[in-house]
């Protein structure tokens, strides 16, 4: 009985929503007048809305602005009919959230879409400032998803497409004048554009590379706290994060109150990590805390030596195999086996984040062995090449002998004639 009642209630609730959606699909009078006025401010929303995802899904002006689109004149915009005009900054989140926080409603259009944006927004710096101070400058929904031309993030034209996110955030965060009152840096966009992550995304077209929202969250945008910045990076850089978590640095950094990854790699302008970072020279990251004489300094030097020797051995083996291959020798099996040394090098580099020499040694040593073997095979292949040259020498001697014989014969012939 109870179940039946619940079912009936569900059906009723669904009915109340459905006609509302259907109502929007009837022709609306708004567009006619707004286009006729000739005032760009009034006409533009109508023009842009044609490409908006909401328009594509059958929603019209009334869905957000209220009023009655069936009325032909100004009566359509009667506040008594729910007309709200341009929503106030405070109002925007409610207007959007009316549908977007309603799981049952959203399910009709995109069951996979999350419905917690409003909740998340409340936790963001934007949302908190809006709620607590009524800050008129903070971003609401429409600042990132421009009203009237909202497109899904998968659409390359969308303001929230992975390639566009940085630009969208940077419109405010990269504007020193706009951000002046908050006294926070505005160089994030410029720095991010220098980073390996942006290069990956923009040059290599790898859209899974992180942009602003991958680290800061999107609707709940806030700076990652110092204690959990490692977790954020570790989303992708799992192995390094795992090593780092067990390393002596993890505890010390936490005590010192400095972030894990970002202390060495910085945050917005993260560059490709190179072996050159692992030294004690002036600019190197280790030198900030360690000197050559202390325990950490020695470990750094040892780890660097290990990585360098592995890298060197690998390059040496690769070079000789390439040389042999160029000379036409069959070394593909050796080259194949050498791949494992490259693996070891990559793993050893990741193991640096344990900040223990043994960890690097454990990953790197098999690579040294493999490289040495591959190198030996390269040497053997080149020896075979020497053999070819000996064969050549023999055949050249024979050819020369024939030539000499013929020359003598020619002389004899000439002498006789």
């Amino acid at each position: 009985m109870r179940g039946l009642l619940a079912l009936a209630w569900l059906a009723f609730a669904g009915m109340t929503v459905l006609p509302a959606a259907a109502q929007q699909q009837r022709p609306e009078s708004c567009a006619a007048c707004h286009l006729e006025t000739g005032d760009e401010r009034l006409a533009n929303p109508v023009k842009q809305f044609g490409e908006d995802i909401h328009s594509a899904k059958g929603f019209g002006c009334v869905a957000c602005h209220g009023g009655d689109g069936r009325e032909a004149g100004m009566e359509a915009m009667d506040p008594a009919k729910g007309y709200i005009g341009k929503p106030e900054r405070q109002q925007v989140v409610q207007v959007c959230g009316r549908c977007h926080s309603d799981a049952r409603f959203m399910k009709q259009y995109n069951p996979a879409l999350r419905v917690d944006q409003v909740t998340e927004y409340a936790t963001s710096v934007h949302g908190r400032r809006l709620r607590e101070f009524g800050d008129p400058k903070v971003a609401t929904c429409v600042n990132c998803h421009p009203a009237h031309s909202i497109k899904p993030p998968s659409d390359p034209r969308s303001s929230v497409h992975p390639l566009k996110v940085a630009e969208t955030c940077g419109r405010c965060h990269g504007d020193p004048k706009y951000m002046e009152v908050y006294k926070i840096p505005t160089d994030q966009l410029a720095k991010y554009r220098q980073s390996v992550h942006w290069r990956l995304m923009s040059v290599k077209g790898d859209l899974s590379a992180p942009t602003c929202n991958d680290c800061h969250g999107n609707h709940g945008a806030a700076p990652p706290g110092i204690s959990w910045v490692g977790n954020v990076c570790g989303q992708c850089h799992t192995v390094q994060a795992e090593f780092f978590g067990k390393s002596p640095h993890a505890k010390v950094f936490a005590q010192m109150g400095v972030p894990g990854c970002a202390t060495c790699h910085s945050n917005h302008d993260i560059q490709e990590a190179t072996d050159a970072m692992l030294v004690l020279a002036d600019q190197a990251v280790c030198a900030g805390c360690h000197a050559a004489a202390d325990k950490g300094g020695k470990a750094a030097a040892d780890m660097r030596a290990l990585i360098d020797s592995l890298g060197g051995e690998y390059d040496k083996a690769r070079a000789i195999l390439l040389q042999a291959e160029r000379a036409g020798m069959e070394v593909s099996q050796a080259q194949f086996d050498l791949n494992a040394a490259k693996d070891a090098l990559v793993k050893a580099r990741a193991a640096i984040h344990a900040f223990r020499v043994e960890a690097v040694k454990k990953e790197g040593e098999p690579g040294l062995e493999i490289s040495a073997k591959a190198y030996a095979r390269g040497v053997r292949a080149l020896d075979e090449l020497q053999f070819r040259r000996k064969g050549l020498a023999v055949s050249l001697v024979i050819i020369l002998a024939v030539i000499a014989g013929i020359v003598v014969k020619i002389r004899q012939l000439d002498r006789r004639s």
């Binding site: 799992t238 693996d343 024939v402 014989g405």
Partner: protein, 151 residues
């Protein structure tokens, strides 16, 4: 040669002829030796034109295991899914070219270098790999497994 030994000149000519003949034979040998060796079929029977006959039998690959094999110059991985199906992919991780492996405990393909995960369709499902692994076609002829580039 011996017929005209009394004459100095013919002896010399005879020597030249002998020398020329011998070296000509040696020359022909030095030409035909490589040609002969060239014509003998090499031990590896066929060129690896996008098809590889695997050095292990279909029965040797147990369900929920993977095997790395050489596909041209690059590693590839043959996986028998827990359901018993054979699948092959390029074993070169799309992130930094490490060689991936099969993790029976996870039931999918995993790259040890940066913890990249690929499902049994080769799709990158977690970690840094930006692209799926290239799939290859697997055919079983009798007990023999033949992997080829799927086109």
């Amino acid at each position: 040669m011996a017929e005209e030994t009394l004459d100095r000149q013919p002896t010399r000519r005879g020597f030249v002829n002998w020398f020329l003949g011998t070296s000509a034979v040696a020359f022909l040998l030095s030409v035909f030796y490589p040609v002969g060796r060239y014509l003998i079929p090499p031990t590896v029977a066929e060129s690896t034109a996008g098809t590889v006959r695997l050095p292990f039998k279909a029965d040797d690959v147990k369900p929920n295991t993977g095997q790395i094999f050489k596909f041209g110059n690059r590693p590839a991985i043959l996986v028998r899914t827990p359901a018993g199906e054979l699948r092959a992919f390029s074993a070169v991780c799309t992130h930094l070219n490490c060689t991936v492996q099969y993790r029976p405990d996870l039931g999918h393909i995993w790259c040890a270098c940066h913890n990249g995960h690929f499902d049994l369709n080769g799709q990158n499902i977690a970690g840094p790999p930006p692209r799926p692994l290239d799939p290859y076609a697997v055919n079983v002829r009798g007990k023999q497994i033949v992997v080829s580039k799927s086109t």
